[in-house]
């Protein structure tokens, strides 16, 4: 039963995707395009991985740790929606917790895909989302604790058959 519900829930998203793809000439009427307050524009606008990492975590290389687990398919047929799960094996107590997790796609037009911020109440530094990938590429997640300790997942290659940024 639970499984049924989940399928139905995810199915809505798939239908939505198809609707967007099918409409072809999709020209959203942008009344007022402005960034949401607090959104880190510099880090998200950076065009190169090094710059994106520098602007988001102020470092360009981070030691990998088995504690940061990135789960994604090795082959993604559709680069427009690649499911990625990140979970960090680290305590989530008031004194010591994972504060942020950054997700990068090395050669996307803007490599920083998302920046997730947790609190100790999260209980587990975990998230799942779907990302777009232009081509076969490396994906990596970098976690930072409230004390500033950083650790990176092993970069994982995802082979993309159809890019997700086509026009």
């Amino acid at each position: 039963m639970e499984q049924m519900k989940r399928r139905k829930f995810l199915g809505v998203s798939a239908v939505g995707m198809a609707a967007v793809a099918g409409s072809g000439v999709l020209v959203p009427a942008i009344a007022n395009a402005a960034n949401v307050a607090g959104w880190p524009a510099a880090a998200f606008d950076a065009k190169k991985l090094d710059e994106a990492m520098k602007d988001s975590i102020d470092a360009t290389s981070v030691k990998t740790s088995a504690k940061v687990r990135l789960t994604a398919p090795t082959i993604a047929e559709n680069g427009a929606a690649v499911p990625v799960t990140v979970d960090v094996d680290h305590p989530m107590t008031a004194d010591d917790y994972i504060e942020s997790v950054y997700l990068y796609v090395d050669h996307n037009p803007t490599p920083l895909a998302s920046a997730f911020h947790f609190t100790p109440d999260s209980g587990h530094a975990y998230f799942q989302e779907r990302i777009k990938m232009a081509k076969t590429d490396m994906v990596r997640a970098v976690a930072r604790t409230n004390k500033g300790v950083m650790m990176s997942s092993k970069p994982q290659e995802i082979k993309v058959t159809i890019g997700g940024c086509g026009g």
Binding site: F9, S13, P28, A33, D121, R130, K132
Partner: protein, 109 residues
Amino acid sequence: MAAIGNPMIRMASHAKKGQIVEVRSLIMNPMTTGLSKNKAGKLIPAHFIQTVTVTFNSKPLCNVDWSTAISANPYLAFKMRAVESGTLEMTWKDNTDGVWSSKAAITVA
């Protein structure tokens, strides 16, 4: 134009104290990058959700900043430690002043 908004949250309605529950969410948004063109060769403007904030009983739980690399009609799952009964609220904001929110209740015993 494709549907937009319609936020949904799925979360267990009951949990034991201390249990870690998963929250899954979905919202309709084109998440266009501003880099691709339509059939007429004109650039499609960027239109995407930039922030998602989550509170539990009005206290911040987690938040995420998104780029255009997030897929259309974004799905997001995360976890929460169930400590007390209450209401989880999520708010999505996009770069065109769009704001949507949704709530889900949980009973913790």
